[in-house]
Subunit: 452 residues, 2 copies
């Protein structure tokens, strides 16, 4: 049962904390926060409305600031950091991993981050500056520089004695890196192998080759997919000359995986995936209005199509009543296809060699469902409006629009990707515009020809 209490802790505490803050019992809250792990405080902050978030931050032990900031999402982190004094921030970030510190510093104004860097000792500053010099979405931006290197020509016993002398290993160390006299990576030795080998065996006889080391400029999503496929816990990062630069650990990779999938999900709905659940109203409204603006254009395009058929609509109001059904079904069917294709593109399952099969398959699915719903809705319309011709017209439009939705659902994201536009961000809107405009055009066009 201990576990269940654990899981709900953040929420129990949130309720308690909210009540305590309302009653001004700040000392009580401060004591509670001291008992919590930094990652749980981070979770509590993410789940807190903005006012209590700021109070909580004030009540948190500054010693924990660094670790908490590293666990926060970008928008929440930036809002808190922007209110801190540089000196306090420099103190808070002392002793952090270089990759985590780089994450905290990355969004600060230039002057501020330079001020913080100037308060660090030389070795640390160089390390962080190196981390900051790599783009955030590459292996270089993900890696940290705390790893243990050994030489290949010593034996197991020497390494064991060296580690005992060291006294502690960096977090998530599952392997030691074997380098030559030029600091080039030649292999790695897992802690498992080290522990299960006889003391007199030489390292180079039990180490594994370094042929899967990650290049420093590799894309973070590629790194994530390698970790996922190879079930790695950590991996070394090298430059083109095979010099060992750093180490990527699974906890940072998990963040990349979550962010990648969340990005697809949020983008498909027209949202920024870094958006804070409790962002300021003005900021949220501004961010979202861009997407709404794009939809205004889409909605006006659809209205212009209806406008072309104004005389038809005037002659028979039933046509106006029914005209929203075909675009609605096309939008839903197309969004099903587009979700499948965007996931497939993200996973690397869709490429030049199989896109034709996918197009044919989705068109066939659209055609099949088109037949089904054309018959059903056609039947409903005949019964409802007592007009066979209208039923036939809506059936034909439905069939055409669902087939088109399948085709557009495959081609639009693939084309956008070719044009280097994020398919998750622009795909859904582009698709709905197509299915709305074409759906209305076919239905109203057929109605004009056969009825008006």
């Amino acid at each position: 049962m201990a576990e269940h209490i654990e899981f709900d802790q953040a929420h129990l505490t949130l309720r308690e904390v909210t009540e305590a803050l309302e009653n001004g019992r700040f000392v009580h809250v401060r004591r509670q926060l001291q008992d919590m792990e930094p990652e749980d405080i981070a979770h509590l902050l993410e789940a807190s409305p903005r006012k209590s978030r700021n109070v909580l931050w004030q009540l948190t032990d500054p010693e924990d600031y660094g670790e908490i900031l590293d666990e926060l999402s970008e928008d929440v982190k930036d809002a808190l950091v922007s209110k801190m004094a540089p000196k306090r921030l420099a103190e808070a970030t002392e002793g952090m991993d270089t990759d985590d510190l780089a994450y905290v510093l990355r969004s600060l104004p230039d002057g501020l981050s330079r001020e913080i860097l100037s308060q660090m000792d030389n070795v640390d500053r160089l390390r962080v500056e190196m981390a900051l010099s790599y783009p955030e979405d590459t292996a270089g931006g993900l890696m940290n520089t705390d790893f243990v290197t050994i030489r290949g020509d010593v034996d197991v016993d020497v390494v064991l004695r060296y580690l005992r002398m060291k006294g502690e290993l960096p977090q998530a160390t599952d392997a030691l890196y074997v380098i030559d006299e030029e600091s080039k990576l030649i292999g790695h030795l897992s802690l498992s192998s080290l522990l299960t080998s006889q003391p007199d065996i030489r390292i180079c006889d039990i180490m594994e080759d370094a042929d899967e080391a990650i290049q420093v400029d590799a894309k973070d999503s590629d790194v994530a997919s390698l970790f996922e496929r190879r079930n790695w816990v950590s991996a070394p990062v090298v430059n083109a000359e095979q010099h060992l630069l750093g180490r990527i650990t699974i906890d940072d990779v998990v963040d990349v995986i979550r962010e990648d999938v969340e990005h697809s999900m949020m983008s498909l709905a027209g949202m920024d995936d870094e958006e804070d659940t409790f962002a300021p109203v003005m900021k949220s409204a501004r961010k979202r209005s861009i997407w709404l603006g794009a939809n205004v254009l889409a909605a006006l395009a659809a209205a212009s199509v209806s406008n072309m058929f104004e005389t038809t609509l005037e002659q028979m109001a039933s046509i106006a009543v029914l005209m929203t059904i075909v675009p609605s079904m096309g939008g839903v069917a197309g969004n099903q296809t587009i979700a499948l294709v965007i996931r497939g593109l993200a996973l690397g399952h869709i490429g030049d060699s199989n896109k034709r099969e996918l197009l044919l398959k989705e068109a066939a699915v659209g055609l099949l469902n088109g037949c089904l719903w054309a018959l059903l809705i056609g039947g409903i319309v005949v019964l409802w409006k007592g007009n066979w011709l209208l039923g036939g017209i809506i059936s034909a439009a439905m069939l055409a629009n669902l087939t088109l939705a399948g085709i557009a659902g495959v081609t639009i994201p693939i084309l956008l990707k070719k044009m280097k536009i994020d398919p998750a961000l622009a795909g859904g809107m582009a698709l709905t515009t197509v299915t709305d405009v074409i759906g209305l055009f076919v239905f109203l066009g057929l109605a004009t020809i056969f009825i008006a």
Copy 2:
């Protein structure tokens, strides 16, 4: 550069393989497959249209079948397994981890999985049967049973000699579990501590407490969030009496995290997250038609609203032309909110204590964007149709519908969750129905009152 070739390998090979298969060069393909890692073959199979997938499977070395099956998504795995002879499947699954084997067996018909189990030796069969006895979405379904246990009253040197004798540790072992004479978990010792401690120190002096062990009935998504927050590589699983039952490793947790987020993304678009990109047309069409059927009801509900105002539509066709704009904007705004709320619910950021704040915030965002787009679209309509009244009516409807969209976007998923209905699956459709129906009703209702 080695890395970049690596990343594209699956695709290069897919194209090569497709060509080779078309030219009947099966021997060539078989040889290529032998050089690939099981996880890369799994990726290749996922990315292959169904015909080539079956041929590839025939050409794959049966020795790799078990590992490949474990890496495949459910639909793809089930399709391949259903065509295999039980004897072959039993051979293929020999020596697999119990949790992975349970994943492969779980979807088989009862008789078949019993047949396979009967071919295993007693110890293995008991282990797998135990794994199968836990629900798939709990810690019990995720764990495997290969872990190393030690006693607390021995010293480091004894453990080192024991491990050397053992000769190999299970995959992703980062800690040994310390148990008492009743097999109860009392602590764990990380390999790091073991390596950095002096040989004569007693284990119980350097081990960490077992107070964060995972209960066997914990939900898999709760396990995943614990791993994410605590940056664990593996964790022990115990029953209510604290008996050690198994071990969960980060690679299985990564799958849970990916599946959870993918589930939200795919469900929001009305898709099954296990759907194979190259599923058979009939199967896809059937799965998707359920969602399309739900949308037919939503579309008919909207049409019924328009139908109530048929006489108004007859009097002024411009109203029909414009009537799709308000529901369209409401749907987009509502889907933005719902994506935010579904992510927040999944991350555990939204609960009873903060839902009021969230509702107020989203209503305010809706109101703010409602004002903006009410003014803009009202203006456009006045310029386009030269009708001030019509512009005013669409403005009022827009304002009402965007505010409603914000409110419904928060309340619908929270209510669904309370009713134990998956908010990602039903939320989007329920929301669009509300924004469509209310959007049309307000716009057409105002038009009827003021114009008709």
